[in-house]
Point group: C2
Chain length 451, copies 2
């Protein structure tokens, strides 16, 4: 029996931040993290293992063991298969048992099986956050010439781009690019910018079936219209589902999308049991509906709330719903989005107004490495509260979207933005006269007044 | 007599934004901008004319004429030398007269004469925002081998860096670098990073006198201890003063530092007369004292407030004081600051607490172009309200400081930051587990609780 005060199941971003935060707030408590493999990958770094950015999967590894040792956290390689909430114990896959005072479930997510025939054939890969799987997968994929990538969310688009950069022929199959994060007008601009010459984009096509040769190896992909794309292997970037089988069979109250019910402090329905990250329920900041958003940054925010409040309420959760703040980069262009898109807002009967502004990302524009910046601001039509933003620009756009994240979280209106005080610098930002967040707000305010 | 509805004196960032905003809010009104020269330089771009970034001063020009034409603004090259508030008229230097309904003073700032003997000698230059002066100056400075730069604020540091990059020997004389924007610990790190090998830094030395040869040309600089530095020319980056002689002799109520008194809507003491930008009074967001902050971004924020409200109160000024949000870049490193430094806060009897966090700017750290990021967060000791931040990092830090600008403006506390929702991406930001603004807030919160 391994005795601990705080037991954390899962060692992804949520689990590791929860352990660090527990140690900071409760230095007298013993903290134990149980994870399947001592190794860990930076989850969002996985696509870059397949291109030229990282030399090998090793370069994407997080030294969890060292980090745990530094923090005074006990890291154990095991898989918890049973929980007993009344006795406050857990059982590992090899029979080891653990006793705890406070339990945090940070079991993450796993790839979702798509409705595609033969998805389990040889030569078909998912993109799990599993180091051993990814190492083997990378070794195989690196030998292929032509790869089909199914799915046009962030992971699909990024992996397709990296494989193309590596010189492979890539077939990308799915709906328009990043459709949950960008409205049509920006999504189309994206196709021009994002798609490497080695990528053939099969837009708005559904994959029916993986074609398999006589040896059982994937050798093609059959689309909805019957068309067959030949390839040496297939990567399924078709989404993730919460890894919550253990929580479910232990009797925790569950919510939509197989997530674990949690309250504002990340408490489940069992006393002293918390859930954080991809396995825990997320409610949308605006619609207040349960949403299948899975983001490491949200997961770590939840981890801090749960861990700080394990024994005493030390901090109040400052966000009243999940804002999806995304970013990615293809080539020298960054694509970032925060909050709700105008198209999604329309579906939810939210009355919006918006403005798109395009400026130079440096001033004067003649400076080297100038990159155009496009900003779309989405606000509620009546109140002017900013509820969404989409940015395309240079690499600095990755931090620029976080300005918008704060603006949305604090329910700021376009009127608050009209005279926002910002730092502008020739080599770093657009000009003070044209700063696009402010300009877009001003355009919306003028529409407002003239109505 | 030139008749206009809205007369704007000055065509810098404030004047140009005021004219654009006037046209947007009041499309039926005639807008006239009077400026000394039809040409305009991007003010913050001036240092880059002296290095390799821009090929010539022409590359830093703003096409004000074209912009004015596009906006339907009448741009006139003239200098207003007299104002008659009761008759609502203005007189130009060549005798032309103007009548107006609303008047906006955006006369900017000019270099301040330092207490240095012979500062007006041949071969000694200021850094005015005057295109004709800068064109001539650049032609002369480009021929010099050794240049002394006096002043270690942003302009001095940037020009010294650019001249050094161009291969010149540079002597930089002044207090520690950017002392108003950074605390000691970061300022010292800065000296390592910022100073090009061609720059000799004469730290904490005062310049007594410009040494002049028999022909009256500057040939050296004499420091306080009597030491003489030989050079071919001198650049005085010793600060600016509001250009308010016209306002003063016209009888407007003035405030400290020779600024024009303005209220929340940028109204002066005369009806229908507004003042914006460097010539208008600025009060500090926290100390509420009048401060000599001159920033194009603040100037444009004021321009939007004044212009939108010329005839009707359309928008409320959303900031209740000026936050100095700065950024600059030397080599591949960005230095940025927002709000008050801890040292300045101490002088003002503000009780503060702070934390410095250093992380990798990309995750995993093995990704190409990873740059360390240092974040110092300064909060009020009791309330935890964030009042200052200092960042050193890659070029993305230029937008990152604007997240802090919003945080300070909205009086957010470190508790609001603990579970901030941010976008993180391997190629764009630090990791979700280590995002430094959040980590610094968490460190401060733990100090708080353990007190």
């Amino acid at each position: 029996m391994i005795k601990t005060d705080i037991l954390i199941i899962g060692g992804g971003p949520a689990g590791m931040v929860a352990s660090a935060t527990s140690r900071q707030y409760y230095p007298d408590k013993r903290v134990t993290v149980v994870k399947k493999s001592e190794k860990s990958l930076v989850p969002c770094g996985i696509p870059y293992i397949f291109g030229n950015m990282l030399e090998s999967p090793q370069d994407d590894m997080i030294p969890c063991g060292d980090m745990a040792q530094k923090m005074g956290v006990n890291l154990i390689e095991d898989e918890i298969v049973e929980l007993n909430f009344s006795e406050k114990t857990a059982t590992g896959s090899l029979g080891e048992s653990y006793s705890y005072d406070k339990l945090i479930l940070a079991t993450g997510s796993v790839p979702r099986e798509p409705k595609i025939e033969n998805f389990d054939a040889e030569g078909v890969f998912f993109v799990p956050k599993d180091p051993d799987y990814i190492i083997k997968m990378e070794a195989k994929v690196s030998k292929m010439k032509t790869v089909a990538v199914i799915g046009t969310g962030f992971i699909g688009v990024e992996i397709a781009g990296e494989l193309a950069e590596k010189g492979k022929n890539v077939h990308l199959v799915g709906s328009r690019l990043l459709k949950h994060a960008f409205d049509h007008e920006l999504s189309e601009y994206m196709e021009d910018k994002m798609l490497h010459e080695n990528v053939t984009f099969h837009k708005d096509r559904r994959t029916k079936k993986i074609v398999v040769d006589d040896d059982g190896n994937a050798c093609g992909v059959e689309l909805d219209a019957g068309e067959i794309i030949e390839c040496d292997g297939v990567i399924l970037a078709t989404g993730y589902r919460p890894n919550t089988a253990l929580a479910k069979r232990s009797g925790l109250s569950m919510r939509q999308f197989d997530t674990i019910y949690v309250d504002e402090y990340m408490r489940t329905t069992e006393p002293d049991v918390f859930a954080i990250g991809d396995c825990a329920e997320k409610r949308h900041f605006l619609t207040k509906r349960t949403v299948p958003i899975m983001l490491a940054s949200t997961a770590t925010a939840e981890a801090r709330v749960a861990a700080a409040n394990l024994y005493k309420i030390n901090i109040v959760k400052s966000f009243s719903g999940t804002i999806d703040v995304f970013s990615t980069v293809i080539g020298d262009t960054c694509f970032a989005s925060a909050g709700i898109t105008e198209e999604d807002a329309a579906k939810q009967q939210i009355n919006t107004t918006s403005s798109v502004v395009i400026v130079d990302g440096k001033h004067p524009a003649k400076l080297p490495n100038n990159h155009k910046q496009a900003v779309k601001l989405v606000a509620m039509a009546n109140s002017g509260i900013v509820i969404g933003a989409q940015l395309i620009g240079g690499l600095d756009t990755g931090e620029m979207i976080n300005i918008l994240g704060v603006i949305i979280e604090k329910r700021m209106t376009i009127y608050d933005l009209l005279n926002l005080q910002v730092a502008t610098h020739p080599l770093l930002t657009s000009g003070p006269t044209s700063y696009p967040i402010i300009q877009a707000a001003q355009n919306i305010s003028v529409q407002h007044i003239s109505c």
